[in-house]
């Protein structure tokens, strides 16, 4: 008996719903179509005990059918979104790579700073290392991206930049500290295609020559730093660019 009352309740409710929907329908033009669907729904509700006996439950089937449609229509829409996801993944990957490169560059810069300090007795004010990625030629023969040192910029303290002045005495060095001029820049440039061990930078070496002429006293220091960095990091010393502090400032 509970089954019967449940069925009756359902039928009454669907009929009520249908009449209500008929009431709030906006236009007459849709009326016939909406009425067809609503009458079909009422018929389905009336037949529901029969359907349950003969086949599986109607609502399960309906839900299955609607789900299938939704999936089908979602596949068309998802193509764009999948592409979007892939693009986002690529972006994230490149961002991550950039960040890791930056971090590695910072580590290398710190190590170079320490080495220069050990060699000269003076730590440079700033060491900047620019890393970049190089296609192919991985150690295991796979097509991978190898990081290489694209450029090194060493900014020396003023004492290191001008040894003549430091020769004057300890007091003058403090004077020089007051002076605004500072940076000596050592730039190591390696050609991206030829890799770490190959020497390529004709332009950079010419730069080095030019700047060396500008300040001969710095060039000695620069030669030392060039050789040291070249030996320890596998960089050709000729590609190292040295710039005295004032000239560097002028260039900036």
């Amino acid at each position: 008996m509970t089954w019967l009352s449940g069925w009756l309740k359902e039928v009454i409710m669907v009929v009520l719903l249908a009449s209500f929907v008929d009431l709030i329908l906006p236009s007459r033009s849709m009326e016939r179509y909406v009425k067809l669907v609503l009458s079909l729904l009422i018929l389905l509700t009336l037949l529901s005990p029969l359907i349950k006996v003969l086949t599986q439950a109607a609502d399960v089937k309906l839900a299955g059918a609607f789900n299938k449609w939704n999936q089908q229509s979602a596949i068309g829409g998802n193509k764009g979104s999948l592409q979007q996801i892939m693009d986002q993944a690529k972006q994230l990957k490149s961002q991550q790579q950039e960040q890791s490169l930056e971090w590695a560059a910072q580590e290398i810069a710190a190590q170079m700073k320490e080495q220069i300090r050990k060699q000269n007795g003076q730590s440079p004010a700033e060491v900047k290392v620019v890393l970049a990625l190089q296609e192919g030629r991985a150690a295991d023969g796979e097509n991978a991206l190898n990081p290489y040192i694209k450029g090194v910029t060493v900014v020396m303290q003023p004492e290191a930049a001008n040894p003549k002045k430091t020769a004057d005495g300890q007091d003058s060095s403090t004077d020089i500290r007051v002076e605004p001029v500072t940076p000596v820049q050592v730039e190591v440039n390696i050609d991206p295609i030829q890799g770490d061990s190959d020497n390529s930078g004709g332009t950079t070496s010419s730069k080095a020559a030019g700047t060396g002429n500008q300040d001969s006293s710095v060039s000695e220091h620069a030669e030392d730093i060039k050789k040291m960095l070249g030996n320890t990091w596998g960089i050709e010393p000729e590609t190292v660019v040295v710039q005295s502090g004032p000239s560097g400032n002028r260039k900036l």
Binding site: E10, V21, V34, L36, V37, L62, F66
Partner: protein, 129 residues
Amino acid sequence: MEIIQVVGLGLIATILIMVVKEQKPMFAFLLAAATGVLIFMFLMGKISTVISELERMAKSSGVEMIYLKTILKIIGIAYIAEFGAQVVRDAGQENIASKIELAGKILIMVLAVPIIGIIIETVMKLLPS
């Protein structure tokens, strides 16, 4: 009394449109469309209360939710198609308005297809083969 607000909005918009129409028919149309959208938005909240109440009733009486969902989808399609068609019709594009209505009708028919399928399947099983 929301009906007074809606009617007032409609009256003001109508007067403004009548004033503007002589000089700039373009702005009159824009005004009409904006008023339509405003009233539609205004009614959205009211309709949502009605729909939530319907859902609650259906749940308590044990109607399958898929039926209710189908009915609600029909109402939604009918309302949106009707609104779009009216806005386009206001702009004088009778062709496009009828196409929008056609799309609404077809989408409603699409909702009917699985129901028809189930009923036909049941009837075929009832008949002795």
